[in-house]
Structures are given as C-alpha cells and as structure tokens.
Symmetry: D2
C-alpha cells in the first residue's frame, strides 16, 4: 500500500506535525495522482500559520507545488491548454478550483471571488479523506476540474516553484492595474511577490522600476532582476526620505504606477504618497488581514488616484506564468536562483521558520 | 464710474465682509465683463470659510455663478463651443483656468491637476486689481482664456446654478469610474453633489440607485430626483444596519458602483462595505482635507475593488452640464427646485450659514 | 408515448417539412424537457434557410423560444442564476452551449467563439437522437449544461420572444462598443436587432438616437420605441442624402456611435460615413456571410475610427435581457407589441416567409 | 541678409525645384528660427508628391526634421517639457500645430483631427511669407505654439530623424490599439512605420512579433530590430501562404494584434485574416487615399474583431519618441543605422526618388 508523508498545521503558531497517510489510488473520473517534486513555502503560509486567514485545521499546507503525474483518472487526457497528458509528465497545477456557477463566476466574471472557491494547501481539512490536498506532501490527489499544466522541458521545477504563486498573483494584479510601455513604476516590497511584480513590470515595458523594501539580500536580488534602483527601509527611515529617494529616479511628481507587495497595512498610505497625481496604485500584498491603518481619503480625491485590489489569480494566470518562463531563459534562471533554501519534508517546520524570519530568497521542500 | 458690491472672506470662520470695488471696464484682449445674475453657495465655500483648503485671503467667494455678458474684450467673439457671443447673452463660465503647458496638462492629460490652475472665487486675493474674480459680486471680470458657455433659452439660471459645480463634478467623477447600463448604484450623501451624482447615474442607465444620507428634507428631494430608495442616517444608525438596508435593494453582495459624495472621511471605509466584490468606488466628496480615518486595506485586496478619486472638473464637463440640462426639461425643473433659499448680496453671510447648517436644498445669492 | 410535432429545414430554400418525433423522456443527469410555448422566427432563420451559414440539415429550426419545464433530470435543481427550478416554471434558455475548455473559452475569454459551440435550432441534425434540439417544436430536450432562466411573472412570453435573440445580441454588442451617457447614436436597420439596439442605446443614456432603415411599418415602431428621428431608405435614396438627414439630428460631424444592424454588406461603408472622426462603429448585423463590398480603408485611418464586431452572445446576456425586461413594464410592452404575427407549427413555412418578406414586426410560432 | 536654400514641390509628380528665400529674422512673440541639420524623407512625402493627399503647392516638403535653435522670439524660453531653451540647443519639433479650440480639440479630445491643424512641410504654401515652413530647407521658421523638444545628448540627429514621424505614429497607434505583455503581434510592412511599430511592440512586451513585407534588405533590418520571424512577400505569394507562415510562429488561430503599416488597401482584408478571433487590428498605414478594396464585413462580426484607425500623432507622442530613444542606446543605434542614404539639399529630388523606389532604409537630407 502506497503511503504519503505529509507536514500538517494542526494549530496556529504551533510546530508543523509530520504525519503519514495511505494514498487512495482508486481515482474517480477526472482525478489525478501526482508525486510532489518540489513545494514552495509561500509568505501566505506564514500568515496561515499565524492564523490571519480563516482556514480549517488540521491542514496539509502547500499551495505552490509541482511534480509528476503518477496516475490519471478516467476522462483526464489533456492538460488545461489541451496538450496530451501522460504518466510521468512534469506538471504544475492551479492551487484553486472555482464552481463556475455562482454570482461571481457567472454574472460578474470575477472567478477569484467564487463563493465556493477551494485551494489546495489552504481549504481542505486533512482529517477528511482523501486527505492529500496540500503540497507539503509526497503525494497529492488532484480533484476533477483541477487546472493542470504540463511544464515545457525548458522550465525546471526550480523556476516554476521559485516563481511560485507570486508570479501568478503579479500577472493577475498587473493585468488589472495595467503597466504601459514607458510607465515609471515603484514596487513596494522585495519579497517573492515584489520580485515577481518587478519582473512583470519590466517585461511590460516600464521605463523605470524602483523597489522599496528590504532586507539587503532581497534588494540585491531586486537589482539582479533588473530594478533601476532600490530604496532600503534600513537606510531611508521615513516616508519623506523614501519618497525623495524614489522621486530622484522616477521624477519629482511621483510614479505612474505603484505596486504594493508588502502586506503590512502601513504600506498603503505610504504608497499613495509615491504615486503622481492621476497615478495608479495596486493593493496586491494585503492578502491576509493584518489590521487597520490610518489614512487621509482626501489624497485619493485630490491626486485623482486609481486604486485597485487584486485577489489571488485564475487558472489563466498560471498558464501565463508557465508561458512567461517558457519564453525566457533569463527569467527561468533568475527565478530558479531565487530558491536559496532547500529542505526535506521532515524539516518542513524549519523551512517555514526560515521564511518567517525573511532569511530566504525562496525556501522549498523536496518531499 | 461703475462699481461692484462684493462679499469677501477676510479671515477664516469670520463673517463675510461687504465691500465695494470700482469696475475697470478697460478690457484687455480676450477678457469679458459679466453682470452676475445668480451665485450659488457651494459646500466647498463652507470648507473654504473653515480654512480646510489653502487659499489666499481676502477673497471674493463664489465659483458657481451665472450672468449676462456686459462687455467683450477684443478677440473674444465666440463661446467655448464656437457659438457667437454678444453683449446681453446669458452665460455660465468654468470656475477654473488651466495653463495647458505643465506636466499634468500636457504629458499626463490630467488638466484638473494643472500645476498653475486658478479658480474664480477661490484662488484670487481680491486686494489685487482687478479685484473682481469671484461670484459673490455684482460684476465679475473674466480673464482671457476663460471657458464661457452661452446658455440655451431652455436652461434658466436656477437650473444651472441649482445644479452648480456639483453637476460638473459628478459628470467628471462618473466619467472616470463608469456607470454602465444595468449597474446597481449607491450614492453616499444627499447634498448637491449626491443629488447630481444620482441624476447622472440614472441617466447612465443604473438599474437601481440608493441614496444613503440625510437630513430628511434632502432625502425627500432624492426620491423626487428618482432614487429607488433612500437610507436615512437618522434611522439606520450603524454601518451594519445601513449595509443591510442597501443590500435589501441592490442585492445581498452589495452594489456594483458606490459614489461617495459626503466629504466626511468615515464615509470611505463604510463605502467599501457597500461595494460588491469586484465593485467600483468613487471618492468624489473628499475635496477638502477633513482629516484621517482608519480603514483595513485588506478589504481592497480581498474584494478586488476599484477605487478612484476625481478632482473638480474640466471645461468639458461644464459643457456637459449645460447639455445635460438642455436636453431635459425634467432635470431643469428638478435642479431649479433644488434652489430653496434666495439671498441678496448683503445677506451673503447668512446665505453661507444656511448652507453650513444643511438647511438649504441650494442657497443662492441674487446680487 | 409522448410525441412532438416539429418543423424541419431539410434542404436550403425549400419549404419546411412537418415531422413528428417520439419524445425520449428518460433524462440523463442535468438534462431538462420543456414544452415550447412560443418560438420566434429570427432573421437568422432566413439566412439559414437561404444557406448562408454552414449548418447540418435536416435541422429543426428555432433558437429563440421559451416554454415551461416539463421534467428535470437528476441534479438539475436551479436555474442559471441559482433560483430553484420546478416543473411548470416558465423559462427561457440560451440557444448555445460552449465547451469551457478550448483556447477561446479558457485563455482568451471569448466564449462566443468557442471551438465547440453548438446552438439549438442551428447546429443539431435532427436525424440524430434525441432529435428535439430546436424551437420550432412542441417539445425541446435541453442538454446538460444548458443555461436556463426562470422568467419573472412580469415578463410575458411575448416580451421575451418578441425581444428574441436580438436583445441578447444587442446587449453583447453594445457592451463591447460602449454607449456612454450623452452619446449621439445612429442605428442602421429597423429590424428586430435594430430595435433592440435602439432600446439598449436609449437605456444607456444616448442623447439622440436616429434609426436609418425601413420599411415604413418598422420605422413607425422605431419611433414608438423612442427614436429621436428615423431616416427612411425609401425617402433618402443616396448615402449623401441619408448622411445629411442623420447629421441634421446628431450634428454636422456625425454620430459618436453607429450600430450596424442591417446584414447587407453595403451598410458598413455607409456606416463609416455616419461616424464622426474618432467615433465608434459596431458591425453587429453581418451574422451571415452576405458577400463582399468595396470600401476605402483610408477612412478608418483618417477618421481614427474604432470598429468592432460582436458575434452572438453569452449566457450572461440572456440573463441581461431577462433583467432588462424585468425592470421595465415599458420595454415589456414595446417588445410584446413587436409580435405582430402568430402562427401554428403547421404554418411554420408561412411564418418564415413572412419574415423573409419583411412584413412582420416579429413573427412567432405557438406550437 | 541671411538666405535659405529650399527644395520645393511645385507640381505633383514633377521634379522638386531648388529655390532660395530670404530669412526674416524679426521673430514675433513665441516664434523660433532653427537651422535644419537633418531632414528625413518620409513615405508620406512620396504620397504628397504623387498628389494622393490634398495640399497647397508650391510647398517646401519635410515634416520630420531636426536642427539647432538659432534665435528665439520673445516669450519663448522653455521647450514643450519645460526645459530652458537656448540658442544652439539641438531640437526636434512636432510637425503639426492644432487650434485647441475646435470640436475635436475641446469636446472630443481628438486633437489629431483638429479642424484647423497645419503641419510643417505639408500645409503651408511657400509663396506666402515667411515661406520657411518645411524641413527640406536650411532654415525653418517655427510658429508660436510649436512644440519644440530639446534633444538629450545621447540622442543623435540620426536616431531621431531615422525614427522619424514613423516612431511618433507607431507610439500613437499602439497607444490606441494596445499591445499587452505576452501578446503575439504581426506587423504588416517593413518600411519605417513597420519597423517603428516592431520596436514599440517589442518594448511593450509582445511575446512574438512577425513582420510580413519586403524587400529583402528591409526584412533583414526587421530581424536586426528583433523580429522573431519575417515573412517575405517575394517568397510567400498568396494570402493563404502568408497566413500559414505567420501562424507557424504565432499559433494556429492567428495573432492577438495585427499592425497594418503598409499603405496599400489590400493589406487590410489580408490583415483581418491574420488576426485570431477576438483579435485587434490597427489600420495605421492608410494615411494617404490609395483607393478602394473589396472585403467581407462578415469577418468582423464573426471573428469579433476590434479594428482601429490612428491618424498621425499629438505633440505628446513626439515627446514619447524622444523618451523612447533617450532610455535606450540600443534603439538609438538601430534607428540611426536605419539611415542608409544621405543627400545634400541640391539632391533632394534624387533623395525622394530613392524612397519612391524603396531602396533606402531611411534617406535624409543634410541641408
């Protein structure tokens, strides 16, 4: 009988627990069984661990993983794009499944806000069979209706997991807010979402991109990714100082587009200051509920800002991420190099702690 | 020698002072002299009186007035739309003049944020000749480059001043945020901007419009304007209660579009609650700096909101307001009926107080 | 054994044939059986009869019908919007089903161009079981995945069939091209699509709508629908004369938006002439391939036009049509009054001929 | 007395005539005198020479030139962007001046369609003083209101004139139609506009760009500019063959965006074939009236195309072109290398013939 070792969040802010489940290999129509080859530790996993988003526990964490098809249920013959799918194929899958039938899926065409959306590594209590619905695991059982993407040979696991859900998220967010050729852009935050947003802004033709954040090792990575300048929170300690440093690069009035990829509420009013009048602001990093902040709404009126939120991503954006990497050896290399820390499944708790302490570029588990 | 009686704000929160200036009738190229027939008291005048926006004093207030052409400077032969202009013509004029040359005018096509924008009734210290740059006055001297609009015979002074700069502002704001046929709309605020936004939303094909605000006499007017429902702040005392009352009309998930026309910062986080996921929010009322408010930026990400500010309006929107009224006897009548209080110039201070106390539909001065 | 009388197109340009099929009442998962109460004769049916679109024959025509639920397959408990569905309910259904999986459905979000789209009354050869896939029939078998809409009590069959697929089509097309409050609009064509486009343009806040077309009885209907003016092809015999008549209403430079709802290729170059520079042109009526026309592409560059095509509609737009009618007794009445000719199923061929001869407002079959 | 040698088009399809005019150095308010250092021969000059656009003759051709400020009229102290302007500065200027007051300038915000637009090298009969309103000249007198741009030191005359009005035109056109990151793009035409469109598409993040055109030396240049593939009209002789070659690169359904930069009417129906369903088509090259073509409007409806025209450009786009070159040594180099033929003013007629025969990358006059 096949078994799968898994790492489970049993209680908020407690160490992950290693468990072992039997793998039910009797797949129903449209299901798949995959061997997880690499599972990324997302910043959101830290938020989940802290209890900042409502989820069921115990849960096998891990919503940005990739692996190989081990078995295909009846009727599952093609990947999301229509390519033939076979046992042994290297694949990645969208973390979430939407219902396609609710008010948001149907009428408002906003499937990320599907009323019944469920995500691997987040929404499935692992006490319930078939248990294996998260990526911190040797095996994962993919539900019928999952969006599975065959990986091109040129896209290594390091690249797709190094890019992680951050790249999907950045593609969605920037699709919404729009970065046009010649725009000056500020990215707030140098974490995985920030670097992914930087990459997408560059590819969208931004004339200048400044990254505001830290720590130093991540700003160094931002420069390697192609940032025109970085503004360190350690060095520039006030909003005024940071605004001055940003404007020295993008021009005195502020940036055309500011992309918030931080997650701390205080980033938002600071970001409003970094926009030029008539500028655009994307609130991308506030995925978890990190509480309130004071701001002056007069600035939105007076500066005539456009502010948009963007929640997670659609299957379309996972396809976009695969394509983004497939068309560029450069980005494959840079996102692969973001993977600085590798752990075994038994070290899952340590892996999560590394991300919590902002020590890693990107930490991954090789289960 | 022609003289003009004027009402002057000499110090914040002090009574307006009645003065008399000589009228310099020697017009330069492109200038005009107009007899003010009616001057609206705008809510912004109250903010200016309180000192909530930086302006020079002493200043002749009055940025939403209309009158008759008394004299035309050389070269001024046509109104903004190209119609021939003659002494005696009934006209309205845009309150502001932009430079057409700065970063915002030229490169970013955001003339409302012109770096050198000046507005009648707001930006001109009346100690400086030719003094007469505000509407609380018998005469006004219009600078070369002013946008003057001949009023159709079907549009009475009451309609255009009753609509006031609120209609221009609403047209600009709704042009930015967009109200599409079938959208459910909430208007926060039942003052002149709120009623104008209501009118524009109705004409844009909104399927339902709910107005949240007060006091009672203004909500009654909102119903006369065509609101599908009103939600009184006096009756529904909590955000939760108001949200429930709104959703009973627009549907359980909230409105497609919410238009903030209040001015108090607390309206903004409440407004976010009234939007459906993926909805749009216009911050239109925060023209003055009324201070900070707490909010949770997580809601912008999670609900995937689009939030836009809109500042004042362009000359184009004054044209839009004249057209809006010209094509509808109904709206002419409703906006005219909004004029509930009429004052002489000597009563200017009392007129302003009436607006400050929210007693008026619209108060006007007949100088 | 239940049987269904049907009207079949067996060969292009030949009389429809009346047949009778057995009704297979053993519904599979998600299927439904409906009693057709009213079936509209669409202009497209004439094109299909002429052989201008590639379809399989024999085919039971009829893609704009409405009826009552007779039986619900397992798992089909709610309509497209989530309302509970029961035997006896008055319903309408989207004519087409898309795959949701192809390049156009998934990646490009253009489901109307689904590579596997099939439409009732158009795409199903009736030789194949279960035969009953068209509306010129007493009974219709709705496939699993059909988009079914419960009709509000206030929306009679006459209104929804009178509006027909023309209203769905107009809603989709105008959603694409955009009619904004204050726009001047020209509708080319006074058939069902033209009148529906007129209705949607009016509700979208058009300041003026001129309908160009014929014959006289349809132009009369256009005026009843609310057109500001009509321009008869019989009276104005040249493009120049029609342009002059249109511009007398919308202004010398032409209309902001022109909606082509004719179907004859020559309407398109004429329509370019009716747009102002920078104007928008919707090619909505060229659903069938009616051949080539000469035009000068220089006009698109010089006038800086935006030209869009729009093909059929999504299920979303059927919902939009039901809502459009549900919120307005006026439009229910006007679209109902468009139904000028009623036929039995045995008279189906005569019904089609009536439409072919442009004699009807809207002809319907009561099977 | 300063004199200026000029090359004049006196009659369509006749040799240019060399004349000499006195230079009136008494500048009025806001005017400037510039020494022309380099004048590009635009494809439009060939159309003008052929008589395909209505212009006054005799005319000094040349609407894409650059030079040095020789004298500044009173009040002209800054360039369009606000930089201080001095005698000796290297500058480029927008070819056209708009009125800022007409229906298109004011109400419709479409200044390229200004009713009173006049362009250097096109609209000024040189029999009228001050004669020097074209670029095929040693000196040019720039009217008050001209949009003058100081050139950064890093942008040589070869780059800005090599890019010519083609780059301004491409920036405007692509701003209108939109090329988004990841889009597949086809450019029809390998002339200066085609290459400029290629450059802008690449910088906008196109995933693939295929250039269809000729002759061979220009396709070679397209590959140097970064085209992913070129399709030669000499090699692929039918629309079907070219479509197949294009789809081999962009995918079987066609391109997301097709940019027409040819000028021959037949390019337009061919371009519709190259678009995927739901794709976008820019009619950019039909600046001159080159006559009619047959097409089937059914394709616009069925493929649900978006087709846009774009006429010339605004001053904003000249600024965009300067910025485009200023931020990239690569593009400065590539556009400079496009300048393959240099002529004296006396050789102006030969220069024009070279362009007429499609022999040049870009031909310029050094007056």
């Amino acid at each position: 009988m096949l078994t799968s070792k898994v790492a489970v969040l049993t209680a908020y802010q407690s160490p992950l627990e290693i468990r072992e489940y039997e793998v039910d290999e009797t797949l129903a129509l449209g299901e798949a069984l995959a061997r997880v080859e690499m599972a990324g530790i997302c910043g959101t996993d830290v938020h989940l661990w802290k209890g900042e988003l409502p989820i069921p526990v115990p849960v096998i964490l891990g919503h940005e993983s990739a692996g190989r098809i081990a078995k295909l249920g009846e009727g599952l013959e093609r990947d999301w794009t229509g390519q033939a799918l076979a046992v042994g194929d290297r694949v990645v899958w969208a973390s979430s499944i939407v219902c396609g039938e609710c008010y948001y899926c149907r009428i408002k065409k906003t499937p990320t806000r599907c009323l019944k959306r469920k995500a691997y590594g987040i929404s499935y209590c692992c006490d319930e069979a078939p248990h294996l619905r998260g990526g911190y695991s040797q095996w994962i059982l993919l539900r019928a209706g999952s969006s599975i993407f065959k990986l091109p040979d040129t896209v290594p696991f390091e690249a797709i997991v190094g890019a992680g859900c951050a790249l999907n998220t950045a593609l969605h967010g920037i699709e919404r807010i729009g970065v046009e050729m010649g725009d000056t852009v500020v990215v707030q935050g140098a974490g995985p979402v920030g670097l992914a947003a930087l990459a997408v802004a560059i590819e969208s033709g931004a004339s200048k991109v400044v990254v505001v954040g830290g720590p130093a090792h991540r700003l160094k990575m931002a420069l390697e990714f192609g940032a025109d300048a970085v503004v360190s929170l350690d060095e520039y300690k006030t909003v005024e100082a940071r605004r001055a440093a940003v404007c020295a690069v993008v021009g005195e009035y502020g940036a055309d587009v500011v992309l918030e990829c931080v997650g701390h509420p205080s980033a938002v009013p600071e970001g409003f200051e970094l926009c030029r009048d008539g500028g655009k602001y994307l609130v991308l990093g506030q995925y978890a509920n990190a509480g309130n902040v004071e701001f002056n709404p007069h600035i939105i009126t007076k500066k005539q800002l456009t502010v948009m939120g963007s929640w997670a991503f659609e299957a379309r954006h996972v396809w976009g991420a695969v394509e983004f990497l497939a068309r560029s050896a450069k980005w494959c290399d840079l996102f692969s190099r973001q993977v600085t820390h590798r752990f075994t499944l038994d070290q899952a708790d340590e892996a999560l702690a590394t991300v919590r302490r902002l020590e890693a570029g990107k930490a991954v588990i090789l289960p």
